[in-house]
Amino acid sequence: MATATAEPTALGRGSMTPLPYRVVRTRRENHDNWTLELEPVGEAIEPIGPGQFDMLYAFGVGEVPISTSGDPELDGRLVHTIRAVGAVTKALCAAKRGDVVGVRGPFGNRWPLAEARGLDLVLVGGGVGLPPLRPVLYNALAHRADFGRLVLLYGGRTPRDLLFARELERWRGRLDLSVHVTVDAASSDWHGRVGVVTTLIPGARFDPAEAVAFVVGPEIMMRFTARALLDRGIAPERIWISMERTMRCGVGLCGHCQLGPTLICRDGPVYRWDEIAHLLEVHEL
């Protein structure tokens, strides 16, 4: 499979051993999402790239794979936005400044930003799919001249579920980036759009013939979005998605994250649409 590759990492210690990282900042993004900023206590992991993930360990509770959601050029500091849905994520979200968590990583491959150079870049995030795209946006804004139009389409469940509200407002204010937000359901005091994120695609300003799209969200949202992007005229080799499956080791040794012929922790999580689409059509693969 043609996938964006990550640099090989030489781990002196065992690949299953976490490194201690201290929480230097926490921010509550909404009712069930927190962003943790971490710095290494001692040894650091290799620099993490947009699209990649770390296995975050809550002492005595367990480990979960979380994508990086921060600025890739922020030296040494790890940024992860986590949704509190289970025991481990709840423990991580409850961490205070000064607490220490374990980190293994970086694992997986990166968003192929090189593929988008000189083209319009369309980012479509659904729900908690926005955090893994944020590093891409930071990178694109930092190297703005490398890209054509920049478009961010974001769909959330309801207004209270939206992430990065303050940043969204700042981004909205920029002239070199177009941002469109919608929610699936709202009360009438929401003054924005209501409808699924795919409804933002027909009206978004980009040239389908000269565009690359990165899509993240629940699998069904990514399928519908890919279809809408294809309908709009973006080539299937220019649509990239981020896949998710059960993960235990994150290093290709436990078998859990396999989806047909691919290991998501090793060959993904970023995949080109035309190479993965057929696997998504098989139920319970």
């Binding site: 849905v85 289970g86 659904g126 729900g127 908690v128 769909g155 959330g156 469940r157 579920d161 919608t182 699936d184 359901a185 709202a186 009360s187 009438s188 929401w190 003054h191 924005g192 759009r193 209501v194 409808g195 699924v196 795919t198 409804t199 009206g203 969200g217 629940p218 069904i220 949202m221 519908f224």
Partner: protein, 154 residues
Amino acid sequence: MRTLDALITESPVFEGLPPEQLELIAGCASNVVFGEGDRLFREGDPADVFFLVRHGLVALDAYVPNRGQVTVETVGAGEVVGWSWLVPPYRWHFTGRAVEPVRAVQFDAVCLRGKCDDDAELCRNLLKRFSQVLVGRLQATRLQLMDVYGDSNR
């Protein structure tokens, strides 16, 4: 100021229609403006009009006891608001509200239904285009129904 014909073709629903048919449709149309918060139509009222939004955002609301006024969907520039005029009993199922100032083309449904009765070709064209848009809207609504961003314990 541009003619109504020209304004109507801004929407994919009417784009590419032969000029005679556009003229017929424009004959049932007029420009309207709504301020933020204005009501375009009310749930239960006769659906004698529909709208092509040119600028702004229209919310489709429903009143749900215990939940209050819920917005089911918003419709923006280039999109049509209102389908109830197509099928009996020709009554609105939701309340339309301008989320921001709205400029739209309002179509007199009684007038258009009348012209459709007289002109089978016009009717056929309109129904074909409206079904296409409706299908797209239905797919989107179904995805919305699936509530894919929901809790993990669903």
